[in-house]
């Protein structure tokens, strides 16, 4: 089973549940982290969300179209489920997951050329607060680009937005990220 692609496994899973187990194992860790990053929920809540997402994916397996990457499709379902859950709990207020992922730091800081704009050490210290202050639409696009390392096409398929809009969102997200980062530098 390990030599099969995600798309092949998805097709087979619609007929045989055992194949779906393999798909879930491939995505469990990645999706759990993704959910934590964009939702900022407690780990146990994220796990509950992931269970609901996997069941949704299973039920909708026959809606999967091979013209899309399976990973984009599964991230799209996860994103939509998290956002719809986020809207429900919005009134309670959320906090961004405390990330310790080094690649994200490196990715986003090098892309933003943030060293010129803000003190690097200070920014690292406050990055979770900065992310917390970002609008959700900007946070999710930054997470997909710099944490999940998705390209524009994949982000477009996941967020179901045109490629141009993804580009615009990323630019605005970076701009807002830097503005908030500068604010923290001033306040420090």
């Amino acid at each position: 089973m390990t030599d099969k692609t995600d798309e092949e496994l998805a097709r087979l899973s619609a007929e045989n549940q055992n194949y779906f187990m393999c798909l879930m194992q491939r995505y469990e860790s990645k999706l759990l982290k993704y959910i934590k990053r964009i939702s900022g929920l407690k780990p146990e809540d994220c796990e509950d969300l992931l269970q609901e997402i996997f069941i949704k994916v299973f039920l909708n397996l026959r809606a999967f179209s091979p013209d899309l990457k399976f990973s984009s499709w599964v991230y799209r379902i996860s994103h939509n489920h998290v956002i719809s859950n986020y809207r429900k709990i919005k009134s309670r207020g959320i906090e961004v997951y405390e990330s310790e992922d080094q690649p994200f730091w490196e990715n986003i800081l090098s892309d933003l050329d943030a060293a010129k704009e803000a003190d690097l050490a200070l920014l690292r210290q406050n990055i979770n607060k900065v992310l917390d202050d970002l609008d959700v639409k900007y946070r999710e696009v930054l997470v997909l680009r710099f944490w999940e390392d998705k390209d524009y096409q994949e982000i477009s398929d996941i967020l179901q937005k045109p490629m141009n809009t993804v580009g615009t969102l990323l630019n605005r997200a970076k701009k807002q990220f830097l503005e908030i980062a500068k604010k923290y530098k001033v306040n420090q």
Binding site: S13, A14, Q17, F20, M21, M24, Q25, R26, Y27, E28, S29, K30, L32, E47, L50, Q51, F54, I55, F58, L59, N60, L61, R62, A63, S65, S156, Q160, K161, P162, M163, N164, T165
Partner: protein
């Protein structure tokens, strides 16, 4: 590898067990196909309504009395403002927004931006509207709406206001009685009944009870109007081709030649 790490809680195992316990099965493919078909069906319905709106807008503009605007309103802008079919424009706008929203919900709809979907819908509905108009379906729809919605014209355009000034020589309305060869009785847009004295050589303009007409002339009594020219409400309608037994090719080429000369400009 990150993905091969064992998750302590075993979420996959829990889900797998849940699927087995509840005997869950993937939803059948036809449900997704039906949903997609409904979305596309709705999109085409919206497109059709938008096309009808475009056909009516074309009908209004292409049948306007462009030769009379200096006398009717004094300026072209005022005339366009008066005859503009706002109702159909609003209708078109609403339907285009619905079509955009509907299209964006289709499987690949998200790939296209607002501008492209908007321009595409407007272009397609304009194209279909032109086809409707030039295949006479627009006129057919117009006559249907005229029959079933008597106040239809008042809703879609303020043309009726322009043709409801008998003292200035402009009278419009619906024929309620015909006493050929010399008289017809019409009900104007403010519900007054007028006896219209027909011009001598009007035999080629179709006069039927229920038809809307425009009359250029002057009042000769409190409820009597002497016509110098009679036009069908839609100026580009081709009355002799449509209503006369013998087909006349020339009238298809130039409708105006059937009408009588214009009166002197109204001050």
């Amino acid at each position: 590898m990150e993905e091969e790490k064992k998750i302590p809680d075993g979420i996959s195992a829990k889900v797998w067990q849940k699927i087995a316990d509840k005997h869950l099965k993937p939803l059948p493919r036809w449900r997704f196909l039906v949903k997609e078909l409904i979305l596309w069906g709705l999109f085409f319905v919206f497109l059709l309504v938008a096309s009808i709106a475009c056909a009516f807008i074309l009908l209004e503009f292409l049948n306007a009395d462009w030769d009379l605007y200096p006398q009717l309103t004094g300026s072209l802008i005022d005339y366009i403002t008066m005859i503009f079919p706002y109702f159909w424009l609003i209708c078109l706008s609403v339907v285009v927004v619905l079509a955009y929203y509907n299209f964006s919900l289709t499987r690949r709809g998200y790939k296209y931006g607002l501008l492209w979907i908007f321009l595409g819908t407007v272009f397609l509905s304009g194209l279909l509207g032109a086809v409707l108009y030039f295949t006479n379906l627009g006129q057919w729809l117009d006559s249907i709406s005229q029959e079933y919605l008597p106040k239809h014209r008042l809703m879609v355009s303020r043309q009726s206001e322009l043709w409801n000034r008998p003292e200035e020589g402009w009278l419009g309305g619906q024929i309620i009685m015909i006493a050929l060869p010399q008289f017809v009785e019409i009900k104007s847009f403010d519900n007054h009944e007028w006896l219209v004295v027909l011009p001598q050589n009007n035999q080629r303009v179709p006069l039927r009870v229920g038809e809307f007409i425009k009359i250029l002339g002057s009042p000769i009594g409190p409820e009597t109007f002497e016509a110098k020219e009679i036009r069908p409400w839609r100026s580009n309608d081709c009355p002799c081709c449509a209503d006369h037994e013998e087909s006349n090719e020339s009238c298809k080429m130039e409708t105006r030649q059937h009408f009588m000369p214009l009166p002197a400009p109204v001050k």
